[in-house]
Symmetry: C2
């Protein structure tokens, strides 16, 4: 028998929003009128490719916590020479970095979250910072009760502190909370903290056919999308 | 000419919710069936009367930060002998402490916030903890973009850190944010951090005729309630 669930915590990049085609699109919208021509999807992949490296500096304690906007900017500066973008001015770079605030949700997300909102407390537990989460919520209609995650915890997933600080903010035991993600490593870390787990398939997250279709570990729920998860939880 | 405002930060106890009659009601609902008879409003006043003392322990650095639920419980234990409540069991005390999660909003609040939501980012910047804020939001329909305030900042208003950490979470300069409160001391502290200020009259907060009808300092806006503030800001 499933244990009682009071709160659902959501991974965001990949699980709720399609970062890849959104970043490619936003980059093209900004840079094409300035005369740049590049492989926009490859650029998005390269930028995301630096993601773990940037956060690992914080997780390892080599640098103090800084919000994901700052890490995205450092990663941008690291990759842009590879794409012939050495000479962008600061105003353009600031705008470009905000591409991550303009990501579109997968089509099932807003409806799925709304279907789960009455019964459960809902929060993103993402490595994205608060303002980035607010922009994505406003753009896509995510009905959050609060913005939890890395910036609140002062560290990055999969460090236990991020999951545990989120439970604590809701005055809940880890066993009363469920982490929802399209990434097995995120769910594994949450399970090790005592949270319940739900996997959502995002088979095209990193490109056609490049995403997790099923979890690589035992989970409490495995869903094809958020509408499916809502049906399973409300059923 | 008023400066541009991007985010509105709200004090909650007294400004948005009527803590006094709500705590009195919730206490009566819980304790009367157990055979207790007391002056419920006086009890609410006494409990609230310990509020600043409890938080001052944290602000002064004498004790590490602990969330307002914990401080409310310590304050409850301090006052209850005065009301003949020495022998309540732990289960009842835990329930009683949650009276602060079941406060009703003043009638203008949900409509006023909704009217301001499209144009401004909205967050509580309260000394209340995240789970308390979520319960009040769900009960009263507060459409927050995020829950900011004391628990996020790790200190209590009117310490500058609480206002500044809230601006930082939204990636905004203090000058782009406005603190909204029914208490001049809260607005004074926010103004000293560079935030804009709006006063809301709550003439009956602490009992009939016992509340601020007007600010005791210069503010950017002075409103009779949140609907009035929404009209002034949208006008």
């Amino acid at each position: 028998m499933p244990r009682q669930i009071k709160a659902l915590f959501f991974d965001v990049f990949g699980t709720l929003v399609d970062w890849r085609t959104s970043v490619a699109r936003e980059t093209e919208i900004l840079l094409k009128p300035l005369g740049h021509e590049l492989d926009w999807l490859a650029f998005a992949d390269a930028w995301r490719g630096e993601y773990q490296t940037g956060m690992e500096e914080v997780r390892s304690g080599r640098i103090p916590f800084s919000k994901l906007d700052v890490i995205h900017r450092c990663n941008l500066d690291r990759i842009r020479p590879r794409f012939g973008l050495d000479r962008l001015d600061e105003t353009t770079l600031v705008k470009l970095n905000l591409a991550w605030h303009r990501l579109d949700a997968w089509p099932d997300v807003a409806g799925g979250l709304t279907a789960m909102k009455e019964r459960f407390w809902l929060a993103p537990v993402s490595n994205g910072n608060v303002s980035l989460m607010v922009n994505l919520a406003r753009r896509n209609g995510f009905p959050w009760d609060a913005i939890l995650g890395a910036e609140i915890a002062g560290d990055y997933k999969p460090k236990p502190r991020v999951y545990l600080a989120s439970c604590d903010a809701f005055n809940l035991l880890p066993a009363d909370c469920m982490m929802v993600a399209a990434h097995s490593n995120d769910l594994k870390a949450a399970a090790e903290c005592g949270l319940q787990t739900a996997h959502v398939a995002r088979p095209n997250e990193k490109g056609p056919g490049k995403g997790e279709t099923a979890p690589s570990m035992r989970v409490d729920y495995a869903a094809s999308d958020l509408q499916d998860l809502a049906r399973q939880l409300n059923g």
